[in-house]
Symmetry: C2
Subunit: 588 residues, 2 copies
């Protein structure tokens, strides 16, 4: 079976090989790539719908253009599997023993056909415009191509890029891959225009791209290799900025994926074989959705907001349909999402904005200027904030330095379900502060006992267990690690350590920290994030003029790339035994 | 004279008073406001052109709408003087003794007619969309108005806001104040469309705003109060999103300002009286422009880039005209500017992007993902990075936490002209790192001796003077403070302190810091920025497990608002005597 479905693909090791194929062979190649993706992604998990939708266009691109001299930038690059298969990396898809030897995103260290490491959306047009400008400065003649999905077009960086690409004055070809979907459905005025253009075969007078000054071409048959080749050939070597608006079908070739595009955007291993729905366990996502549902039933001014990643925060299709006016997806537009939340809070609403840690990076000035400077009481939920073994483009360990050094922000770190719910409810009901909550990561931890903490008393740390000699400050997810360290200190060194749950990331409890000086020699801080600019350094600064020793534990400042979590933990001394060893050295 | 020019204005203390005036009186009021602005801003300095251009529209807005129930959001708010004069704050403009008692930006603490503290561009549409959503959630009926200049439309947040405002489904009125200028000239494809719309009296088929789904109205006579009132009345209480495209003249009423819109965007005191051009001294801005000019003459791949703030970095009109392809203004689009620079560097160009500290905040994810993760050798020049007495919206003390905690970035802090030039030249010529340079602030300091440091040896601190007991690490602008502290320590305590110029903000010289343990008891760090997440905390963390005392000096994490610099310095112990006192306490 394996041999028959890769008949043509077997012979393709580079784009040059693609150029030698007949139209019939190109179509066979498309089938083989599609079947290979279906088989492999169903085994390994990965981006499914986006890759199935771009098979033909990728083949046509490599047939017409001369990569890597001509340069193709894949926006967010979650549609780069066919590209990787055509540029010398097919073994990562065809050979089970080599599945996953390459990352699922473009990566220059893998191949000269990949220009950038990309995993966040809306960046391709700006990056490609830069490549084009670099070419113009150095006397190059190559084609520069950006391939960007319609969903990514809601992001401000994409618009800034288009606005500037349009006046570049030289060759740039921007291909809009319009499958009428983001991860979930699209939101925004632009999508009305894209629909109008699709419905009129690109002929409508109102045309967003023409308004910006681009030469515009529409192709409805985005899976027709012959027609794609014809159009790409026509615009190749253009001397001015061109937009190709290409209509494709997300999930093309798999009926279930074409029908339920959101569920098949990214799939887990075995998703295609699944007969029965997986059992639903309580999670911090389900807790969040349940709380919001209950809250907006009590208070009409409550609204949940997502920047196009509802799955991250438990905002399922059912939740969204049910919520009505109490839910808004603003599209991939984190900057807007934060300013929008500030405006809602200013005018009496109670916004709850849910963002993944890696994507809160897409808005800083809005957190600072639009929100914190104005002290509007919006609630931000930061999901997945933790050290992780993820791809370098999706690390989630930088949110603490990003958020916690902004004045006026209150950033909270609950350690269990009860604290999370109490903090969330306090935040939604108060009117004084912009509040972010670092939603716990992992299985739900429940004490079964309601949390009665008054979080309006800012920067008050909680002493969970009082001891002496060593004090452990375990922040958020790492409070559990703190417990383990306490046990290890008792077992290995006979020390009865103090265990502290700080609750607050944005400030320190000076009174408590001063009191520790009486009978402690070492304070250790544990944070599930990067050390630089983080929580622990503030404790180190506080104790700088005293005799207290301080050991900060967290992650080194680096872009790790699919490093197993246990390796990262070991490298950063984030295990009870390594921490206790460091304490021993410090005390000796 | 004073009494005659404020004949009508004398009677106006609130928008209600505006509503009582006849058209003739409204026109007189416009003249009086304009003359008052001209007189006052020529004495105090301030935003000139933007305010002169918005006089009539502001009067018409307050005539038609019912502020503060109806809510007007002024983008960047550097055009809010007429609004302030009509909402109970005219004394700050008419009474020399009260000049400046109110900030030059909108500020809710001053008046319920101001919704947000705003000083960065492109935020108004998102904030207004939030106000509208808050209204819809709480059953309000008021009009929500955003007033945004054409220059601000190049920013991604403005586009994200428009994309979402268009599908709000209820009342929002967005007024595009089109004077065909940013601070400097506009750049981007959008501006072709705005020109087309102006040239066709709003009738052109290609219409950016209609493409996004807005009801669209054009008014060419943006200084005709009668026609403005007519149009505003027509759209008042609309039940759907509306764009009014209003053509105005920046600097209206002052010939010199109408002719040279850039120079009169913001003026210094006495600018209108100036007969002779001020003498030009060497500055870090002129040094920058001179270096770039020389460099692109040697190397065709060099390009200077500004996100619409060329004045910040010495990119004068003459410089821009002369530079040709070696200069690009990308419009107000910092996100694009960073990604664009990364792309240029990837394709062989040598980009030098100049940004003001306060505005580098407008791009974080691009610094991290588009640039640092890809290790492309772009050069960023961060201007004005320092603790300052500025308005809360334009603080320049947060760039160190923002930039320096991103992996792969190299952030440098020169202390004089020679170091700055050496670092700049090293950065432009190397191919390994994305480099940011914190351009020194203040008068040029020159040693007259060429700097021969090899900056490719990362994180190597320089010991300027070797001593014992106390080591002073004086970063960038505060190296001079470090010298003064050294002198004060000698005079007051007889201590011969070690003085260190760290050069690097993004890493620490562990070897040197370890060696200090031999004969030093205290290390003090001095940084011209906020302490939280900054440079000094990393030194405190390093010494956490040792007996070394560490004192970090810098600014508290807070949004100061026009606090005189000497007060900020005193509050933060940033004077030699207060620092020496802290050292004394620490050693005792």
């Amino acid at each position: 079976m394996q041999s028959t479905i890769t008949n043509v693909l077997d012979r393709v090791n580079s784009p040059d090989d693609v150029k030698q194929l007949s139209l019939g062979e190109l179509n066979l190649l498309a089938d083989e790539i599609r079947q290979t993706i279906i088989k492999r992604v169903n085994i390994t998990g990965g981006h499914f719908g986006p890759n199935l939708g771009i098979v033909e266009a990728t083949i046509a691109l490599h047939y017409v253009f001369n990569s890597p001299v001509d340069k193709i930038v894949f926006d967010v690059s979650h549609q780069c599997y066919p590209h990787k298969m055509l540029t010398g990396r097919k073994e990562s898809f065809t050979n089970p023993e080599k599945y996953g030897i390459y990352t699922g995103y473009t990566a220059p260290e893998e191949s000269p056909h990949d220009l950038f490491k990309i995993g966040h959306t809306s960046t391709s047009v700006s990056l490609a415009t830069g490549l084009a400008k670099g070419r113009d400065l150095t006397g190059g003649k190559e084609n520069i191509i950006a391939l960007i999905g319609d969903g990514s077009l809601s992001g401000g960086e994409a618009y800034e890029g288009l606005n500037n690409a349009a006046v570049l004055g030289s060759n740039i070809i921007i291909i809009i891959n319009d499958n009428d979907m983001s991860i979930a459905e699209n939101h925004g005025g632009l999508y009305g225009n894209l629909k109008l253009l699709r419905d009129t075969n690109g002929q409508a007078e109102n045309n967003f791209f023409k308004a910006l000054g681009f030469e515009y071409h529409y192709i409805d048959e985005g899976h027709n290799i012959e027609k794609l080749i014809e159009l790409f050939t026509k615009v190749k070597d253009t001397n001015h900025p061109v937009v190709i608006h290409m209509h494709t079908i997300k999930g093309k070739g798999v009926e279930a994926a074409e029908l339920d595009k959101e569920s098949y955007h990214w799939i887990v291993p075995g998703a295609l074989d699944k007969k029965e729905p997986a059992p639903v366990f309580e999670s911090y996502e389900s807790i969040t959705a349940d709380y919001i549902t209950q809250k907006y039933n009590e208070d009409n001014s409550v609204i949940a907001i997502s920047p196009a990643t509802p799955g991250v925060s438990g905002f399922t299709k059912e939740f969204r349909d049910r919520a009505g006016i109490h839910y808004t997806d603003v599209g991939i537009a984190e900057e807007h999402a934060v300013a929008f939340s500030s405006g809602i809070a200013k005018n009496g609403g109670k916004p709850i904005l849910a963002v993944m840690s890696s994507f809160i990076q897409r808005t800083y000035d809005q957190l600072s200027q639009d929100l914190a400077l104005n002290s509007n009481p919006a609630t931000l939920l930061i999901f997945w904030g933790s050290i992780s073994g993820a791809d370098a483009t999706h690390l989630t360990c930088f949110d603490i330095p990003l958020i916690s050094n902004i004045p006026n922000m209150v950033y909270l770190a609950p350690v269990n379900k009860e604290e999370y719910l109490k903090m969330l409810d306090w935040s939604v009901n108060q009117n004084d502060y912009p509040v972010a909550i670092r939603v716990p990561v992992g299985n739900v931890i429940s004490t079964g006992v309601e949390d009665n903490t008054d979080y309006s008393i800012l920067n008050k740390f909680k002493v969970e267990e009082s001891g002496s000699e060593v004090a452990i400050i375990g922040l958020g997810n790492f409070f559990e690690l703190g417990k383990a360290v306490k046990n290890e200190l008792a077992a290995k060194m006979g020390i009865n350590a103090t265990l502290i749950n700080p609750h607050f990331i944005t400030g320190i409890d000076e009174e408590l920290l001063n009191s520790l000086k009486d009978n402690h020699k070492v304070v250790i801080t544990l944070e599930d994030g990067v050390l630089d600019g983080g929580f622990g350094e503030k404790i180190a600064r506080f104790y700088g003029n005293s005799d207290m020793k301080v050991l900060n534990f967290g992650a080194k400042k680096e872009f790790t790339d699919r490093i197993p979590l246990d390796v990262i933990y070991r490298n950063n001394h984030l295990t009870p035994d390594l921490i206790v060893e460091d304490v021993k050295n410090c005390l000796s």
